[in-house]
C-alpha cells in the first residue's frame, strides 16, 4: 500500500506539470515552430528564420532551437511573445491568451532547473 501511495504521489505531480507543458507544446507547434522549429527555410536556407537568427546571435553558446534551451523562464518567454524582437512582431491576446502564454512558458522552461525568473522590463 505504501508503495502504491508513493507511486501515486510520484505520478500525480508530473502529470499536472505535463498537462501545462503539453498544452504549451501544442501552442509552440502552432505559433512558434514555423520560425523557431527545426527544418529548412526558403531555398538556400538550411534553417528556419528564427532558428537561424538565434544561431547567429549566440554563435553556438546557446542552442539555436528554443525547445532545446535550458535557460528559458516563463517571464522571458512572455516578454518576447508580447514585445517581439527585431522582425518578429508581438502576439496579441486574441492570438495567444495569457493562459496559453503561461502554458507556453511552462513548456519552454521545462528543461531549466530554475524556471522562475525576474520580471523583464521593456527598454523601448
Amino acid at each position: 500500500m505504501r508503495w502504491l501511495l508513493l507511486a501515486a504521489i510520484l505520478w500525480t505531480s508530473p502529470a499536472m506539470a505535463t498537462d501545462a507543458a503539453s498544452q504549451g507544446q501544442a501552442i509552440f507547434a502552432r505559433n512558434c515552430a514555423p520560425c523557431h522549429g527545426p527544418g529548412i527555410g526558403n531555398p538556400g536556407a538550411s534553417q528556419k528564420p528564427g532558428t537561424a537568427a538565434l544561431a547567429a546571435k549566440y554563435g553556438g553558446i546557446l542552442p539555436a532551437l528554443l525547445e532545446e534551451r535550458r535557460d528559458l523562464t516563463p517571464e522571458l518567454v512572455a516578454f518576447f511573445v508580447r514585445n517581439g524582437a527585431t522582425v518578429m512582431a508581438p502576439y496579441r491576446k486574441t492570438e495567444i491568451s495569457d493562459a496559453e502564454l503561461a502554458a507556453l512558458g511552462t513548456y519552454l522552461s521545462r528543461n531549466n532547473p530554475k524556471p522562475s525568473g525576474r520580471k523583464i522590463r521593456k527598454t523601448s
Binding site: R30, P34, C35, G39, I40, G41, N42, P43, A45, K48, P49, G50, A52, A53, L54, A56, K57, R82, G84, T86, V87, M88, A89, P90, Y91, R92, K93, T94, E95, S124
Partner: protein
C-alpha cells in the same frame, strides 16, 4: 493611449461600458499593455507624434457582436478600424489611419464555415489564417489547395481585402480577385451580403461572385465602407504533380525575350507564377568587382555585366517556372516551354529544380524547397531582414515600396535605372533596394512589382526619418513616370491616393462622395485608402 477624437472622457467611459456589455469584459482591451499590442510593429514613426495609436481594442466573436459594436460607435461618433489578424506588416500592420480609433480585432471570429472540394471554394471568417485553413484541409484529406502569401500567419480574408497576393496560378494568387462573396456590417450596423449571398435562398455564394446588379465588393478592399465578417474564396483543385524548372539567361538584354515568352505561357494558362531572380544580386555583395560593375554609371548598357557573365559562366537572369497538373501533361508543357525559350534566347540553359507528386508525406512536405509555390503556408520569408551570419545587426522591420511596372523586360530595365539613380540623387544608400540586378516580383497577375524594403527601427528615429523621406520621394518619383503604388501603410495613403490624379483626382473625389453618403461620420476606418469623410477632409 489617446481618446477618440472630439470625445469627452465622460462619454468615452460611457461608450466603454456599452462596448464591454456588447462583447463581454474579456474582449475589450483598454489597458496600455494590451492596446500597445495593436501598434504597427513595423511603424516608420515608432514613438513619434505621427504614429497612429489606438484608444482601445475590441474583439467581437460574431457578426451580431460586430453589429452591436458598430451601432455603439455610431451613437458616440467613435472611429473604428477593423483588422482580421493585423499582420499587414510592411504596409501598416494593425495601425489605423486615425489616432484614437478603436481597433476591431476580428481574430476571434475564426470559423471555417465551409470547404467544398468538388466545387473548389471555401467560406471563412476574418480570423482564419492560412495555417488554419491549410490544417483544416489536411486533417480532412480534402482535394483542394490554397494559394498562400509569403507569411502564412495572415488572414485569408484580411489579405484579400488588402489586395494581398500569392504564388500559384494567376487566377488564385490575386487573392481579392479570387474571393467570391462578402458578408459586411455597414456603418449603420446593418448586415449586407454580396454576390449570390444577397439572395437568401441561394446556395451558390462561394461559386458565383456577381449575382445581379452593380459589383460592389471592391468598396470593401483597401477602403472603409464596412466591416467584412465573412468571405468566400475560390480554391485550386489539388494537382497530381508539380514541376519546378528554371531557365538561365546570360545577357542583360535577355530579360526582354524572357518576359515575352513567360507572359505568353502564363496568359495561355500553361504555367503558374514566373519567378524572376538574378544570381548576380547576391553575388555582387560577395565580389567587389561585380559590385563595382553594378554601381558604375555606364552599367545600364549591359556590356560589363555581359562580360562578367561570360567570364564567370554566371547567368544574369534566372526564371523559375511552375507547372501544375497530370505528370504527362506538365512534362509536355515543360518541353514546349523549353523550345520557346531556346528559340527566343540563344544560349539559354535549363535546370530541373524540383518534381513533386501529391499528396506529400509530412516529411516530403517539410523537405519541399519553396513551399509557397505548392500552397504550403510557412514563415520562411522572415529570413529576409532577420538576424543571420550576414546580417548580424538586423532592423526592426521594413517599410515596403511597391510600384507597379508594366510586364516587359524594357520596362523592368527602365524602372531599375530610374529608382537606382533616383535614390542616388536622394543620397539614400540602401544597396539592397535597387540596382541593375533587381528582379521583378510577379505575385500580382499581369503586372510586375519592383518592391523594395526600407529599414525601420524601434530605437533609432533617424533610421525611420531617412526611410520615410526616401519613401515619400520614391512615391513621387514613381508616379511622375507612371509607376503607381498598389499598397502602402496608412502614413502614405493620402500621398499615394493623390498620385492617382487623372481628371483632378476624380477617383478620390468619387470615393469621398460615396463615403459622405455611406459613412458621413467616419465610423469605419476613416482615411483608409487615402480618402476621408467631409468632416475630416483637410479642405473642410
Amino acid at each position: 493611449m489617446p481618446l477618440p477624437p472630439h470625445l469627452s472622457p465622460q462619454l468615452w467611459q460611457e461608450a466603454l461600458t456599452q462596448l464591454r456589455a456588447a462583447v463581454g469584459p474579456d474582449a475589450l482591451f483598454t489597458a496600455d499593455d494590451d492596446v500597445t499590442l495593436y501598434r504597427d510593429a513595423y511603424s516608420p514613426v515608432w514613438g513619434e507624434a505621427e504614429e497612429r495609436q489606438a484608444s482601445a481594442a475590441i474583439a467581437p466573436n460574431s457578426t451580431e457582436q460586430v453589429q452591436a459594436v458598430v451601432r455603439i460607435a455610431n451613437h458616440f461618433g467613435i472611429p473604428l478600424f477593423p483588422i482580421a489578424t493585423g499582420r499587414n506588416l510592411g504596409y501598416g500592420g494593425s495601425a489605423s489611419n486615425l489616432s484614437g480609433s478603436v481597433i476591431v480585432d476580428l481574430k476571434r471570429m475564426n470559423r471555417i464555415i465551409e470547404v467544398d472540394d468538388k466545387r473548389h471554394f471555401a467560406i471563412v471568417e476574418p480570423g482564419v489564417s492560412y495555417f488554419d485553413l491549410y490544417r483544416y484541409i489536411q486533417e480532412r484529406g480534402l482535394d483542394v489547395w490554397i494559394d498562400v502569401p509569403d507569411p502564412g500567419w495572415g488572414s485569408v480574408m484580411g489579405n484579400a481585402l488588402d489586395h494581398g497576393v500569392g504564388h500559384t496560378w494567376s487566377s488564385y494568387r490575386d487573392h481579392f480577385g479570387s474571393h467570391c462573396g462578402l458578408e459586411v456590417v455597414l456603418p449603420d450596423g446593418e448586415v449586407m451580403r454580396t454576390g449570390m449571398g444577397a439572395m437568401t435562398s441561394a446556395k451558390t455564394s462561394g461559386d458565383f461572385r456577381y449575382g445581379f446588379g452593380p459589383y460592389v465588393d471592391g468598396l470593401f478592399a483597401q477602403a472603409g465602407f464596412g466591416i467584412v465578417t465573412r468571405m468566400g474564396i475560390h480554391l485550386m483543385p489539388r494537382p497530381e504533380c508539380f514541376l519546378h524548372r528554371r531557365v538561365l539567361a546570360y545577357r542583360r538584354q535577355d530579360i526582354v525575350p524572357l518576359v515575352e515568352v513567360a507572359n505568353k505561357l502564363e496568359d495561355a494558362g500553361l504555367i503558374g507564377m514566373p519567378l524572376y531572380e538574378s544570381p548576380m544580386f547576391g553575388a555582387q555583395f560577395a565580389d567587389k568587382a561585380l559590385r563595382d560593375i553594378a554601381t558604375a554609371p555606364d552599367v545600364w548598357n549591359g556590356n560589363a555585366i555581359d562580360r562578367y557573365a561570360a567570364e564567370k559562366a554566371m547567368p544574369v537572369w534566372q526564371l523559375g517556372l511552375s507547372f501544375y497538373g497530370p505528370a504527362e501533361v506538365v512534362e509536355a508543357i515543360w518541353r514546349h516551354a523549353q523550345a520557346q525559350f531556346a528559340k527566343a534566347i540563344p544560349g539559354a540553359r535549363f535546370e530541373t529544380i524540383e518534381t513533386l507528386h501529391f499528396p506529400l508525406s509530412p516529411q516530403a512536405e517539410e523537405a519541399a524547397l519553396h513551399k509557397v509555390l505548392i500552397g504550403v503556408p510557412n514563415l520562411n520569408i522572415f529570413a529576409i531582414g532577420a538576424r543571420s551570419a550576414t546580417n548580424p545587426e538586423p532592423a526592426d522591420g521594413h517599410l515596403l515600396f511597391s510600384p507597379m511596372v508594366a510586364r516587359s523586360g524594357e520596362e523592368v530595365m527602365k524602372a531599375q535605372r530610374l529608382f537606382t539613380e533616383g535614390m542616388r540623387e536622394m543620397g539614400a544608400d540602401f544597396p539592397m533596394a535597387y540596382g541593375p540586378f533587381t528582379a521583378p516580383f510577379t505575385w500580382m497577375p499581369r503586372i510586375f512589382a519592383l518592391t523594395a524594403g526600407l529599414p525601420v527601427s524601434r530605437s533609432d528615429p533617424k533610421v525611420n526619418q531617412r526611410s520615410r523621406e526616401t519613401m515619400r520621394r520614391l512615391i513621387e518619383l514613381g508616379a511622375r513616370h507612371g509607376y503607381g503604388e498598389y499598397r502602402t501603410p496608412p502614413l502614405f495613403q493620402d500621398q499615394v491616393m493623390a498620385t492617382y490624379d487623372f481628371n483632378g483626382n476624380a477617383l478620390r473625389r468619387f470615393c469621398e462622395t460615396l463615403k459622405d453618403a455611406v459613412d458621413p461620420k467616419g465610423i469605419i476606418a476613416p482615411g483608409r485608402g487615402g480618402f476621408w469623410p467631409r468632416a475630416m477632409r483637410k479642405e473642410a
